[in-house]
Symmetry: C2
Subunit: 132 residues, 2 copies
């Protein structure tokens, strides 16, 4: 039974640009672009239920793909670039779990995946209470 | 009197990274960084009441500043880079007004400021109805 006092953190959304070509001029042999390969690789991994994978067309960071975003609840939204569809899926899920563990989206620097440290292209603050 | 059938569009927020150094090694003579100069220049212009200016520290697009973001209601959020704090404030407010005039945040291509066409570093879809 769940402890009523243990308020769960709001879910986290990992958005993946599935149209990303990552600089390739032609599609892969299996007819998929890198963004789709990245999304498919993520869905093939054991994804914690509190993390939702969302395909997006597209995140418009086309010169520095593959690109993903993390958001959820009252956290800052982060956009990360230059991801490799083969090498990075497990790192991405680890980063998403670390992000999910925070209330505000700010993963402590030392706990941040190295890729996140050097490839953040933007972060956007949580919505404030509307003043209108 | 306002026509009751004329539902107003949700307000638009223009977020400005006020910490941006835009590649400068030293602060300006007046002790302000380019991001703060950009924010101050925007506040000195006639800003439509449906557009809210929000200073942010920081948007973490430090290699390609100055940087701003546009969001509001159920629109896509857009992040634009490489802004000049002296040349671009009026263009930015014009772009914000064009963004505000849309329901989904997608300014028709031909109506988009030239700077927006070539300096989008990311866009993030509106939140969907939570499935949890």
């Amino acid at each position: 039974m769940k402890d009523q006092a243990d308020t769960p953190l709001p879910p986290t959304e990992l958005l993946i640009c599935v149209k990303c070509r990552r600089g390739r001029a032609t599609v892969a042999d299996d007819d998929r672009w890198p963004g789709q390969i990245l999304f498919d690789a993520l869905t093939a991994l054991p994804v914690p239920e509190e993390i939702r994978l969302t395909p997006v067309a597209c995140l418009q960071n086309c010169d520095h793909g593959c690109t993903v975003a993390l958001r959820g609840g009252d956290r800052w939204t982060y956009v990360f670039a230059n991801l490799d569809e083969v090498a990075d899926p497990a790192m991405l899920l680890d980063g998403a779990a670390r992000y999910h563990a925070t209330e505000n989206g700010l993963i402590p620097w030392r706990e941040r995946p190295e890729h996140f440290k050097r490839n953040c292209v933007a972060r956007i603050p949580p919505l404030e209470v509307p003043n209108v």
